[in-house]
Structures are given as structure tokens and as C-alpha cells.
Symmetry: C2
Amino acid sequence: MRASERAYTALREDIIEWRLLPGTVLAEVEQSERLGVSRTPLREALGRLTAEGLTTAGGRGVVVTDISLEDIDELFELREILEGKAAALAAVRGDPSIFTRLQHELLRAPELLSGEDPARHDYYALVNQLDDALDAAITNSYLAQAMRSLRVHLVRVRRLASDDVARLCAAAAEHAAIAEAIAAGNSRLAEAATTVHLHRSLSHIKATHREENHG
Amino acid sequence: MRASERAYTALREDIIEWRLLPGTVLAEVEQSERLGVSRTPLREALGRLTAEGLTTAGGRGVVVTDISLEDIDELFELREILEGKAAALAAVRGDPSIFTRLQHELLRAPELLSGEDPARHDYYALVNQLDDALDAAITNSYLAQAMRSLRVHLVRVRRLASDDVARLCAAAAEHAAIAEAIAAGNSRLAEAATTVHLHRSLSHIKATHREENHG
DNA sequence: ATGGAAGACAGTGTATACAGAGAAGGTGAT
DNA sequence: ATCACCTTCTCTGTATACACTGTCTTCCAT
């Protein structure tokens, strides 16, 4: 694996997992020594992170981007636009059998969550399958690219919320509803189901965020 | 100005103006010598171009991205999603007086086009003002960023179409209609006017593109 | 004549050295 | 004591040298 790739992956993980907090300055010599790569591949990694919006190159050095509550609102506003339309397009263009299968698997998600995996690996893999199926069904690389770039920030926000089993079960049911609507070819229902899901996710995130601030 | 910035700007111009055609391989040594910069800043420029989608880093070297007719359809599909919603949001959140002023200036656009500027500089500056006003009005940096990244590709496509005065006058009238709807606070009308405008633009581009292929 | 292997070459990926700019701290003068 | 200026240091931006990988060509053997 290339050194720049390693540096990029490591820094991205550190930012998403909130080990590198917003406002942290990523000095080139410091980070290159920490990650065991030279400055050149590190600069490439920082460039990619800045292009994704995880860092900003304003003035002196590269700084980890902050995510405020207003940012989360804006993030979900765009998410609703993109994913709502994507679900509608998938309902028209997608292969129903794929989404029917995903719907049934999502309805069995509570079984996955009762397992002892603290990282909920199987659960998130299943949700990623739905995302991938959406990307493939819409047959629009620009839209898919826009959604991919948003998901990076979303994962970062998600780490702020408490992933309790109750919410994840509810989210799986909402995902199943989206898959069902797509499989049925009902674009308006698919878009509506996506809107509902995103609003519930946002409410959950905000609620847990408020709790943390008051705790 | 930094060398990497110069290289980025020059390459970007060359790609947008179709001086570097799709499929061209941008070898590092070759381009660094041509642009008079070292390989290091050139690599940074290529990285930014690749992040924007103007080039791809697949396998051997960096290659200028191709734009097919299907790509244009996908591009405008996403554009309609983003700009339609942006117009609707601007109608709710924007300052009406700004868009009223832009509406009136756009209605006088035919005067600008009757001038002898072959680059239509004043005209495009006015259209850019509308884009900037939209960006500011929506108060959503993620949506604004998504639209900005699309506009790069749009400018590239626009260079394919013949910018005849008739079409530009019609486009100005359509822009004025969008501004009017935003100023009136009518979000549904603003979105509809945007949809109409984009469909007409797309039809025009496709028509001229067909002509060129048959000519 | 054809296939395979080896060497040369081209081109990227990485490291390091050097230069310039900006900030911080200290010192002198008022 | 405070302010201004100068020095110095640290950091980024750039250039260049080196290494490695993949490919193409050529030569030898069958």
C-alpha cells in the first residue's frame, strides 16, 4: 500500500473517530513523524482530506473542520434532497428483486443487533449494502458521487450519537420501508419514506447531543 | 501566487476550454516542464483536478475525463435536483430586494448581448451574480459546495454548445423568471422556473451537439 | 519462427534539502 | 512600563534526487 494512502486512511479514521478533535492543527512534520511517512505523501493525504471537507487549509496549516449543530442541519437538509431523489430514481430504474431481498434482510436486523458485536459490524454492513444498491440503481455517477462525499461527514456525525439498540432497530425498519417502496416501484413513497427516516435520525442525533451537553 | 495554484489554474483552463482533450494523459514531467513548475506542485494540482472529477487517476498516470452524452444527462439531472431545491430555499430565506434588482438587470440583458464583446463577459458576470446570490441566500454551505463542484463541469459542457445571441437572450429571460419567483417568495414557482430553464438549456446543448456531429 | 526471459527504460512514488514567509519573543528606547 | 523594531525560529512551499514498479523490446533457445 502506498504511503500516501496509509496516511490518508489513518488521518481520516482519526478524524471520523474523533481522536483528532475539531480545531486540531495538523502540522506536517509532526504528523509525518507520527504516521511514519515523509512529508510529501502526507501533503497528498492532507489535500484529499481538505477536498472532502474534513479539514480546511485556511492560512497557517491544515485544521480539522468543526461540525456545529447548524452544520448538522445543513448536512441533513442536503442529504434529504439527494437521498430522497435517489430513492425515487431507484424506484423507477432499480431492479425490484434486489430491494425485496434487502427489505427482508433488514426486517431481520434485530437478530443481528442482539449479537454481542459491540461495533454492530453486521448491521452496518447491511445498511451499506442498501446504500450500494441505491448507488447502482440510480445510474447517475454525479449523484452517487455527491452522496458518497456526504456520507463521510455523516459517519462523523453518527459517532456523536449513542447507537442504542432501540434506535438501530427502528432505523432498520425505516430502511426496510424504503427498500419496500423502491421494490414496489413507488417513487413518491420511496422519497417520503426516506424523508421520514432522515428526520427521525436527525431528531435522535439532536436529542442525544442535548443529553450529552446536559450530562 | 503559489506554483501549485498556477499549475492548477492553467490545467483547469486548458481542460475547460477543450485545449486538453478527453483521454489526454497528463504526464508529470511533461506538464511540469510545459507549465514551468516542479513536479511537486504539479502533483498537488493534479490531485485537486482529480478530486473535482476533471481528471481521473486510474492506473497509469492522470487522464483528462471524458464527457459523453449520457454524462450530460446525468449532470443535468443532478443540477435540476440541486438548483431547483436551491431556488426554492432562496425563495423562503433570501432577501427579496436583491433578487428584484437582479430580475430587472437580467431583463436588460439583451442590451449587454448587443455589444461587441465576443466573450459575452458582462452577460456571464450577471449570471454569476445570480448564482452567487443563490449561494448566499440558501445559507447551506454543503448545498452551495455541491453546486459549485457541478458548475465546473457545466462550464466545460457549455463550451460545446454554440452561444448564439438568441439562446442567451432566452436564457436571460428564464433567469429573470427565476429571480422574480424568488423575490416573490414563491418557492414552488422558483423551483418550477429552474426546472424549465434547465430543460431548455439541455435541449439547446443537445441540439447544437447533434448539429456539430452532422456537420 | 515463435515463445520466453532478461535487461533497459519510462514514469510514478517517496524522501530530503533548501528557501522564503510569518509569528513570537526579546531588547532597546522613549 | 510600554511600544516598536529586530532577530530568530518554525513552519510551509518548492525543487531535486533516488527507488521501485511495470512495460516494452530484444535476444537466445527450442
